[in-house]
Symmetry: C2
Subunit: 145 residues, 2 copies
DNA sequence: CGTTGTTAGTTACAGAATCAACTACTACCT
DNA sequence: AGGTAGTAGTTGATTCTGTAACTAACAACG
């Protein structure tokens, strides 16, 4: 019995968002993976440090809604690759200040320019109003409850 | 040196899409996980069979862009839970026809109604035009190249 | 100070994703 | 028919993720 239900999976927003997110991440993923052997969390951590400068793991986690174990492992990987420098905070010795090294900065700037081009390309077929509206709505949906 | 770059992570579409996708999937995930012990791929497979009726693993994978190993393991889990029935295709004995059992149908209908409510709730704060535009743009982004 | 509670970050273990190799079968070509 | 190539689906090795338990450090209250 092949009945075509009234429900369309393509209209279910979480599904649609995931498909769009996955598809739109593919080409960028290939680049940070091939070029620097990074994972998704790695480039996010890298970008946070590149954009905001010195931060602690905790702060990155709060800003990006990434779980602390993911951050912890990502920081380890990035430190092994000499992309960041860890320094224990003298004021609170539980936490560490994280800063990009020169190599980390270089990787960040490289990937940032890739991201900018890629973003423009993704939005190229939309009008300016559409692009603005899309970002606005996505930001609303992304807001942590 | 905490310099605020010209680059805003929140404007990078793949990042924004991922954040929105993750956030908007959370509550739904909790339900299919708590109620049926399912994973993301599991409910997707279930929905495909619920909506389109009998399909092969291959067909589901094509439609949903899910890798065949994920499907294979998901089908195993769903079969163990007696949510679907596997039958070797007589015409091509490499592939199997997959059909939901009564229990599978029930789970599908239950989750479908949850999904419908949830979707309406997610879009409640958007105007009708915005909702339409959002879906249109997401579908465009989700199109496999 | 000392006990109790909390926080930053790490680690252990189990479950899940990934990629490549594999089995079983079909299709084509001669 | 026989050989080669291709396809549907599974399995295994490795890596990644998620949860919970852990360590080390701070805070607050007596």
């Amino acid at each position: 019995m092949v009945e075509n239900d009234e429900f369309d999976l393509q209209d279910f927003l979480p599904y649609l968002l995931n498909q769009a997110a996955e598809e739109s991440s593919l080409a960028f993923q290939k680049i940070y993976k091939d070029r620097y052997g990074m994972l998704r969390t790695d480039w996010r951590v890298l970008f946070h440090l590149g954009i905001y400068g010195e931060m602690t793991a905790k702060e990155i986690g709060l800003r990006a809604s990434i779980h602390k174990t993911k951050i912890s492992r990502s920081v380890q990987r990035l430190a092994e690759k000499r992309f960041l420098q860890r320094t224990r905070d003298a004021a609170d010795r539980r936490s560490e200040k994280l800063v990009l090294t020169a190599a980390g900065e270089a990787a960040y700037r490289d990937l940032r320019s890739v991201a900018q081009e890629y973003d423009a390309q993704l939005l190229a077929s939309f009008s300016e109003e559409d692009a603005v509206a899309l970002r606005r709505m996505l930001r609303r949906l992304a807001k942590r409850a």
